[in-house]
Each structure stands twice: as structure tokens, then as C-alpha cells.
Symmetry: C2
Subunit: 350 residues, 2 copies
């Protein structure tokens, strides 16, 4: 009854390969004694590949990735300002292209303040919420353009596209997540300014809410939501929001829960038509790449999200527990990327 | 040689009238012995007026306001969810209409952590920056719409409109502000996703920067900017950004510097073609209205911004100093709105 899971591994750029290396170490450790095998296919994608071949994501790459069962991604993106990358947009052409092509309509980003994690807030209280960020619409669709570009008369537009279809499915997902948690959903948007998109979000949340009478629902403007994240983060359980607001909120959420080095995410296609993709929220941080300074915890927690998504909840729980223990006992002595990975890998096997 | 300044006063809704009352008290106090007189015209605008008359902002109101030299606004907006306001959009129809009609292209929002102000950060360090938020373009233009509204096939678009003309003037303003401060300008945007609008912002900032070789310039994505605001706010001097990102950042900035009860703003038309408008960043907070619980400090600091804008820098400095002293000596004993206003009004006369 052994199960083979086809895993695409995309280490990427900067600290990506380092943190993915540790994430794989932990994955290997937690599956060592089980009847599940991850059959890995490695994809060399990112700024480095672009500089070598000029490719960002070829149709062949995409087709090969689409046949996998899941994707583990480190981080992509070159050195900011690198003139050779002037005409590349690794983020749009690779990361967002994967999310859109593989219909990752749920971008799941849990935020938890683990005991021992040093955060910037004086009185953080308990922080434990999940952001369900829409992943395939909104201001991210790339429907923009400019005229008279580079002149004093340039006009550049960016259009946020939002559909009832796209919103309803992610809102339903958010309510399902809330049902398994503290049963509270907060919609974050800017309905007083973006009246059309915001109005539709609000109407759909209200409609889905009526099917979940046991879930408490409220609404907070994006600007006010950032205030709550630093003054009263405990008020949130499940936040559902659009692609851009979710991007902003989850970085801030990472910061208040001890840093972006701990923030994991899943780009999920709940229908299972395409493989879901798991990645740390942080970027490629080329300034510290190759120095064993990066914290692999976010990548390792992304493995936990992946295991959970694949139905391996026991394995997921073991990884999360090992990470929690590791964070609780982190002193102030810095450890290398590999040392953190080794410690967590050892703990999952203990 | 006496100078008469025509001032439109818009107390608005909720706590608006209370905080504006204290702001006027301080304004009267600081001008009592000077040869400047503020000739006030009061405008009853906001949710209350809408409920009474059905008007949000009539052409006559707007024309009358446009002839004033400056505007002091409290806050507008009714009780959230009030069914009678279902079809009103006080924010778009009044507040944003004023900002757009009066060409308030600079939304100036200083953030300073005053000694004694209790903020949420464990180690805030020194916080003293100014956000120069664009006020007349971007996602706020109201160029949105929806089709098949209310059905399962609804599509709602919102278009962000950005012009070289609009960006250049606000960027120039930001560099002028930086020249009088620590000479650093940070552009905040999301150039990797909103490539057309973001690309234009970047190019214009770079062009204006070349005329200011003594100003340090850098760029931060909006998501990363929220991280810095809680982990290293001291890195910012002048932030220039678009209408929506500025909205988000300044609420967060208010929170990290001791609360939105201290955050002042100016909606400025630097050309002087239209009166500029000064208002606290906070909203109408109907839940605590009429209870003398609101902190009038943000409204009073908005008066200081107004005085400065009107060339009355001595008076502005007296108000700011009085506020600083008041904040430094605030204990934990709560004071009424009027008590705070009285104390600051007395201090500016001392
Ligand atoms: C790299 C960038 C395109 C991406 C995003 O904006 O979604 C990142 O910030 C994230 O949150 O995963
Ligand atoms: C009330 C709302 C329209 C307004 C804005 O978004 O600009 C407010 O949040 C502000 O920041 O002044």
C-alpha cells in the first residue's frame, strides 16, 4: 500500500536553494519510516536560469510541472537593479504565471505567534489566524498598459478584474477553514473606495455567510486592518481578501509573528485539477544568499502545509510540532541554515 | 496690516464636531494676540446632512467652499450598516469629491513618535517620517463598474489611472519636503506586479532624483514597506506613494506612532488654485460620538499643518510644541475631549 507522490522542486534563486535543501531534509526525515515516497523532479527556474538561457518559464516546463502532484518552491528573483534583468519580470513571468496557470485560487497563509518567537510588538497577545488570499484575480491579473510611455503625457492604467465565480469559490474555502477553527471570518477590502469590486466581495461574503449561521462574520477596511494587526491581532481568525490586500496583509502578519523567516504559504488549487505549490512568503534575499544565514523555518513550515494538503496530516503535525519545539528553544546564538534544518529533521524522527 | 483668512469648517459626523471644536479652540488661542483673523464659514456636511436632506455635496456647497482660503474637516461617515445610508457613499461623494474637485494632489501625512506616546512596538526607536500620498489619481479615480451585477456571472473591474503629469508634480513635492528634512525619499509601490503604473512611478522618481543629487533615493515594495514600519520605521524620511498604498501605509504609521488619535493630515493643493483641507486621519467613530472620549490631538495637529501651509510657521510651531508637551505629560488618567483641548489651548497662550 505504498504511495508515491510526484513532487516538483523549484529551488530558485538567492536563499531559495538553501532553504529548500533544509525543507527536503525534513520531508525526507518525516517520511523515512512511512510508506509514502516523494518522487522528486527538480526544475531549474528563476533569475539564474533566465540569465543562462533567456527562459523564464517555457511551455515545456509548465507542462511538466502540471503533471506533478505538488510543488515545493524556494524563492525566485535576482539581485535588485541587475541591469541584465531589466527586461525580465521573474515575478510575473514565473511565480505569478505558475499561480495563474495552475489555478491556485487559494493562497493560504497562516500566521501564528509561536512561544519563543521574538516579535516586534510590545504586547502581542495571542496571534493565530489564517489569511485566505485570492490568487487568480484582482489587481494581479496583468490587465494594464500605458500610452505615450516615457513622455510627459504618459497615462498608465492597471485594471483589477474580479468575478463572482472567482470570489465565491475562495470565500467558500475561507468559511470551510473557519468551520475547523474559531468560526470567524473577516472580509478585508476597501468597499468605500473600490465600490464595484468591494461591493461584490461584500455581497458574496454575506450570501455564503447565510449558509454558515454558526460563523461570525465581519468586515474591516484594508487600512484599518493594518492597524488591528499591530494593536489587536487576536481579533482575527480567518481573513478573506483579494490578491493585493492579501499580499500586503500577509507580509505585515509575518512581521508581527516573529518575522518573515517563519511565514509559510500554500498556493492551492482545491479542486485538485492542478498541483498546489508551497513556498515561504519571503523572497530570494540575494544579499545573504550562500552564506548559511537564511532561516529555513518558513520553507519547512511550507512542507507541513503541503503534507496536510496531501492528506498526510500525521506527518504534517510532526513537522509543525518539531518546528514549535525548535522555536521555543532558540536562544540568541545564531545557527546556520543547515543547523536549523538538522535540528528540526532530527526532532521529527525522535 | 491685519490678515483675514477665510476658513471653511466642516465638523462632519460622529466625533467630528467634538474634535473640530477643540481644534478651533486651539486655533483661536494661538491667533488671539496676533493680527491674523480666521473668518469662519461653517458647512453642515456628512451623513447627518444626507439623512436630513438627501444631499451629499451640492454644487453650491462646493462652489462656496472653493472660495475659502482653507478647510478644516473633522470626520464624515455614518454608523456602519445604517440601512438609510445604503445608497449613499459619503466617502466618495463628499470626502473624495472634495479632494478631487479641489485638486488636492498632495496628501501630506507626517508620522512622529512623540516622547510619551504609547505605541504598540516593543522597540520603536526614533520614528519621524512624512508620507506624501498622491491624492487625485490611482485606484481612487472611481473608474470602475460591473456587469451582470448580483448574478453568478458578475464581473467587476476597478481601473487605476495614473498620469505622468499627476505623478511628477507629487514626486517633485516629495523631494522638496525631503530637502528640508533628512534628504531621503523612498518610493513605495508594487512595481513587480503593477508593472505599467509602477514602472512609470519608478521612471519619474529616477528622473526627478537626478535633479536632486544630494537626496538619497530608494524603492520598497508596499508589502515590504509594512514590514519595515514595524521592524525599522527609522529607515524612512519621506515616503512618496500612490493614493491606495498611501492610505494603507498612513493608517499603519498612525498605529505605530501611538495611535490614529494623533495622526494629522493635509490635503494640499500646492499651486494655491484651490483651498487646501486639513483633517485628522481617523474617521467619525460613531460608536464613541458625543461621549467626550475622542482624542482631539489629531485635529489639533491638523491645525498646525494648516497654519504652516498658510505661512504662519510661528503659530504652527507653538501648536506643535504645546501638543508635544501635552503628550509628554499625559498620564494614564483619561481626560475628556474638552480637557485635552483646554490644556493645549492654555499651553499655546502661555
Ligand atoms: C513576488 C511577488 C510577485 C509576490 C506577490 O506579490 O504575490 C510576493 O510578494 C508574495 O507575496 O508571494
Ligand atoms: C474615508 C476614506 C475614503 C479615506 C481614504 O481612503 O482616503 C480615509 O481612509 C483616509 O485615509 O483619509
Amino acid at each position: 500500500m505504498s504511495r508515491v507522490i510526484k513532487l516538483a522542486v523549484i529551488p530558485g534563486d538567492g536563499i531559495g536553494p538553501e532553504v529548500v535543501g533544509e525543507a527536503e531534509k525534513v520531508l525526507d526525515a518525516v517520511t523515512a519510516a512511512s510508506d509514502v515516497t516523494f518522487d522528486k523532479a527538480r526544475f531549474s527556474l528563476g533569475a539564474a536560469r533566465y540569465l543562462e538561457t533567456g527562459d523564464t518559464l517555457t511551455d515545456d516546463d509548465l507542462a511538466a510541472i502540471a503533471t506533478q502532484d505538488a510543488i515545493l518552491l524556494g524563492a525566485v528573483g535576482g539581485v535588485p537593479g541587475d541591469p541584465r534583468l531589466k527586461d525580465a519580470n521573474i515575478e510575473r513571468g514565473l511565480l505569478l504565471k505558475l499561480r495563474f496557470s495552475l489555478d491556485h485560487y487559494v493562497n493560504l497563509r497562516p500566521s501564528k505567534l509561536y512561544p519563543g518567537a521574538p516579535g516586534p510588538l510590545a504586547e502581542p497577545g495571542e496571534i493565530d489566524f489564517v489569511v485566505v488570499r485570492e490568487g487568480t484575480e484582482g489587481p494581479y491579473v496583468g490587465n494594464g498598459g500605458s500610452i505615450r510611455t516615457g513622455t510627459a503625457h504618459e497615462v498608465a492604467n492597471e485594471t483589477s478584474v474580479n468575478t463572482a465565480f472567482g470570489i465565491e469559490r475562495v470565500v467558500r474555502y475561507a468559511f470551510e477553514v473557519a468551520q475547523k477553527r474559531r468560526k470567524k471570518v473577516t472580509l478585508v477590502h476597501k468597499t468605500n473606495v473600490l465600490v464595484h469590486a468591494g461591493g461584490m466581495w461584500k455581497r458574496i461574503v454575506d450570501a455564503v455567510a447565510s449558509e454558515h449561521p454558526d460563523v461570525t462574520v465581519d468586515y474591516v477596511h484594508i487600512d484599518a486592518a493594518t492597524i488591528y494587526l499591530v494593536t489587536n491581532p487576536g481579533r482575527f481568525d480567518v481573513i478573506v481578501t483579494d490578491n493585493l490586500f492579501g499580499d500586503i496583509l500577509t507580509d505585515l502578519a509575518g512581521a508581527v509573528t516573529g518575522g518573515i523567516g517563519l511565514a509559510a504559504s500554500g498556493n492551492i488549487n482545491p479542486d485538485g485539477a492542478f498541483p498546489s505549490m508551497f513556498e515561504p512568503v519571503h523572497g530570494s534575499a540575494p544579499d545573504i544568499a550562500g552564506q548559511q544565514k537564511a532561516d529555513p523555518t518558513a520553507a519547512i513550515l511550507s512542507v507541513a502545509l503541503m503534507l496536510d494538503h496531501l492528506g498526510l496530516s500525521g506527518e504534517a503535525a510532526r513537522v509543525t510540532r518539531a518546528v514549535e519545539e525548535d522555536i521555543a528553544h532558540r536562544g540568541s546564538t545564531p545557527r546556520t541554515t543547515a543547523q536549523v534544518g538538522d535540528a528540526i529533521a532530527a526532532a521529527v524522527q525522535a
